[in-house]
């Protein structure tokens, strides 16, 4: 459909006549304790700090539970427990036995998948369709995959003897709370390390449920320690001298602080940080499927995805048709109750994040930039943001350069493959990218020139435990997943 032909802008009405009735997953299925303690040395312990923080359901602003805030002493207890478990039990255990524990965790997670999905959606605001169909199945897949590696590390790295580092300190973000815990814990344990992990302060509940599950799985005490807290707890983990290896997923800003903190120590570290991925649509792309890919790229998990396809680059000849169809598709996205099975886009994770996104949409908008938002009704309580397009932007705009981490897509056009590659790479980030074309050779030609850890062709936001994930430039260092992801948890000698 050329620009000239698309003059009859007909209206399609998606909301009339037939609207879906609410189909909520029941929160009664799960039990959430009023207060959670720190999981240290195989038991739940009250924090030495005596402090607790609230965790809130972002879709209704109600407090779900209180979780302990680990202080310096608590971090020290956790690291000490992890060290003791490493030296006393875990490092002496035959590799096959480590694998068995991981298999057991995976199977227990399968049995309790529904419960974990519901809690994840309540605590993080993500739609149940995603937590049920993507997050939790991926969590399980990660444990199964790494369980298999535990006794085969010498085959993964032939000719060298792989050895664990010791105690791994891990700090994870709030966008995929349990999945990030799995990405961290599974390879660490498979490689023979013990773990002190801190979930994000806004989304600690599934990690604490995982702590219960790990205890029930009979994992030796101290092998996995799950301690909750905010930024300072993270700082205490990073600075603790007993940590041999750090793994962090989160913002580039904090990543830089961690790098400075570990400079001059012999701590190993991997960082998985921000992104501002270009999703490149060529004029020979399958348009309808590209629209789906764009939607999955930026609106998946409310855009709280470090590898989100947040910069749309579209070849000029198809720009008008593509953007028109993208807007049609956006009108069918259902925004609302995360527990409703029909919800496509849930709640923004926290007030802080919502303010940050809205800041971009007010102060970040300059000149003749045009904001397009869908007509959906947002609930009164909770933190919400409509799916948003920002048109008429250029490379120099702040909203194109900085990570918004919300359901906000900027749209730019290009004329040639070279121009597309230059625009895509003109970013301090390099985590992911997307290419849409019907032509296989173009995928390879353009794909190898995109400086990003992952490049998807004719799809977007696909994850698999066998596939390494990580960034170029300010998007981080080290890889997670696959053999590449085992490597940072091992010393090769």
């Amino acid at each position: 459909m050329s620009e000239k032909e698309l003059t009859t802008h007909q209206n399609l009405h998606f909301d009339e006549l037939w609207a879906y009735d609410p189909a909520p997953e029941s929160p009664d299925y799960v039990s959430i304790e009023p207060q959670y303690q720190l999981f240290i040395d195989g038991t739940f312990q009250k924090p030495e700090s005596g402090r607790y923080i609230d965790t809130v359901n972002p879709s209704n602003e109600k407090v779900l539970a209180q979780v302990a805030e680990a202080g310096k002493k608590d971090v020290d207890k956790a690291v000490t427990a992890a060290r003791k478990a490493y030296e006393g039990v875990w490092s002496k255990l035959p590799a096959k036995e480590r694998g068995k524990y991981l298999f057991r965790i995976a199977r227990l997670l399968q049995e309790r998948a529904r419960e974990f999905a519901i809690v994840e959606s309540m605590d993080s605001g993500k739609p149940i369709r995603e937590s049920r169909d993507i997050d939790i199945p991926q969590v399980i897949a990660h444990f199964f995959y790494h369980a298999g590696w535990a006794d085969k590390l010498e085959y993964a790295f032939p000719g060298v003897r792989p050895k664990p580092h010791g105690v791994a300190g891990q700090i994870i973000p709030w966008n995929f709370p349990l999945l990030m815990a799995a990405w961290k814990i599974a390879p660490a344990l498979a490689a023979g390390n013990t773990v002190v992990i801190k979930p994000a302060e806004t989304t600690p509940l599934t990690a604490l449920k995982l702590a219960e599950l790990i205890r029930d799985a009979g994992l030796p005490p101290g092998v996995v320690n799950i301690i909750t807290g905010a930024g300072q707890t993270g700082v205490d983990i990073v600075n603790h001298p007993g940590i041999d290896k750090l793994a962090f997923t989160g913002s580039t800003e904090v990543g830089k602080i961690i790098q400075k903190a570990v400079a001059g120590t012999d701590k190993k570290y991997t960082l998985e940080l921000g992104g501002k991925a270009a999703n490149i649509i060529f004029d020979d792309a399958p348009v309808e499927q590209a629209v789906e890919g764009i939607v999955n790229g930026i609106f998946f998990n409310q855009g709280h995805v470090c590898c989100a396809g947040s910069r749309l680059l579209v070849q000029e000849g198809v720009a008008e048709e593509l953007v028109y169809k993208l807007k049609l598709r956006m009108e069918t996205l259902i925004v609302g109750d995360p527990l409703d099975k029909n919800t496509d886009i849930g709640a923004i994770n926290s007030k802080v994040q919502l303010d940050r996104i809205l800041g971009f949409l007010t102060e970040g908008v300059e000149g003749d930039q045009k904001i397009y938002q869908t007509k959906c009704n947002l609930p009164e309580k909770g933190y919400w943001c409509q799916p948003t397009l920002v048109e008429n932007v250029s490379q120099s705009h702040r909203i194109v350069q900085e990570e918004v981490f919300g359901p906000v897509l900027t749209i730019q056009t290009f004329r040639t493959p070279d121009e597309a590659v230059n625009l895509a790479n003109n970013s301090p980030y390099g985590l992911s990218g997307g290419i849409w074309t019907d032509k296989g050779s173009k995928i390879f030609n353009v794909g190898k020139r995109i400086r990003a850890g992952v490049v998807w062709a004719n799809t977007f936001n696909k994850f698999d435990p066998t596939s390494p994930f990580g960034g170029y430039k300010e998007s981080g260092m080290g890889r997670e997943g696959g053999i590449h992801g085992l490597l940072p948890y091992l010393e090769l000698s």
């Binding site: 459909m1 032909e5 698309l6 009859t8 802008h9 007909q10 399609l12 009405h13 998606f14 909301d15 009339e16 006549l17 037939w18 609207a19 879906y20 009735d21 609410p22 189909a23 369709r129 169909d133 020979d284 792309a285 399958p286 348009v287 309808e288 499927q289 590209a290 789906e292 890919g293 028109y324 069918t332 099975k341 029909n342 019907d438 004719n458 799809t459």
Partner: protein
């Protein structure tokens, strides 16, 4: 109107289409919205019998089923049409006269389309003369697969002319076209040649209708509408047996083309056993209980 160059292929990504369909299938339709959709789906059924065994008695039975789907509940709506072979059209038209139910006839050497052009045109005219107000034609798949797109375009245009006032549904027999890009191309040819409806299958070839194939056809319909403002109908046929699948089709229509197509004028199911499953589910929604199939008359 500018007719596209059919030698050019509209790219369709197989995995992308199938993923989109998987998303439609995750929609959860409950309560009132379910009852509404079940009733709507029933009104969209083209109750079909296309067998060499179709005696007048069988066709009569089917016509009554169309008019009185479930005698126990008079509030249940009627189906859209019945679909028969040309030699049963007169009987069906007599029985259904005044009921508002359409009489559809397959024609044009259904299901293979391998008759001479003359005989196929004659068959269309015969069926219309006998009282059919809808003609379900088959395209020449041999010509399409050989790349003779103009031949296919012209035959459709010819049959459309022979239809006179009757509506023309063009069966692409997607099971023989194999790729989604072929499905898209055949859809475009049919639409631009004058189809009132495009239809997936004869029901004689496996696979018959699938959701991904239907989605590709809906995209063709949508593009045509966005260009011209004209609405073409869609009829998946064959293989749709249960209410749950029918509701997923309606979800797909709603989220692709919008409410404008949620009408028997623009969307039909070519099916036979589907009607009773819809009825069972409607009664279940109303009473809260499933009843035995023995409480629902067969067509």
């Amino acid at each position: 109107m500018m007719i596209p160059d059919f030698k050019q292929t509209v790219p369709v990504d197989q995995i992308g289409v199938e993923e989109r369909v998987a998303r439609f299938r995750t929609r959860s339709i409950k309560k009132e919205s379910k009852l509404f959709a079940l009733k709507l789906a029933l009104q969209m059924v083209d109750l079909t019998t296309l067998e060499g065994m179709d005696s007048p008695g069988k066709v009569r039975q089917l016509c009554y089923k169309a008019m009185y789907p479930h005698a126990a509940d008079p509030n249940i709506p009627m189906v859209a049409a019945i679909c028969v072979y040309p030699n049963r059209v007169r009987l069906a038209a007599e029985i259904l006269k005044g009921s508002g139910i359409h009489v559809a006839s397959v024609a044009t050497s259904f299901p293979s389309g391998m008759g001479t052009l003359e005989s196929r045109i004659e068959e269309v005219k015969y069926a219309v003369d006998e009282g059919a107000d809808e003609i379900d034609m088959v395209i020449s798949r041999w010509a399409f697969l050989k790349g003779e797109y103009n031949y296919v375009f012209d035959e459709i245009a010819t049959f459309k002319e022979a239809c006179g006032p009757a509506h023309l549904k063009v069966i692409l027999e997607t099971g023989e076209l194999e790729t989604y890009e072929n499905v898209r191309k055949a859809s475009d040819i049919a639409i631009y040649a004058g189809a009132d409806f495009i239809k997936t299958s004869t029901g004689k070839i496996s696979p018959a209708a699938t959701m991904p194939v239907t989605l590709v056809m809906l995209y063709a319909i949508r593009d045509y509408y966005l260009r011209t403002g004209n609405k073409v109908g869609m009829k998946p046929a064959g293989g749709i047996r249960d209410a749950k699948t029918a509701l997923h089709y309606l979800v797909m229509v709603k989220e692709t083309l919008g409410a404008g197509w949620l009408t028997p004028d623009l969307f039909r199911f070519g099916a036979s056993s589907l009607a009773n499953d819809l009825l069972m589910q409607i009664i279940k929604q109303k009473t809260g209980q499933y009843q035995s199939p023995d409480y629902f008359s067969i067509g």
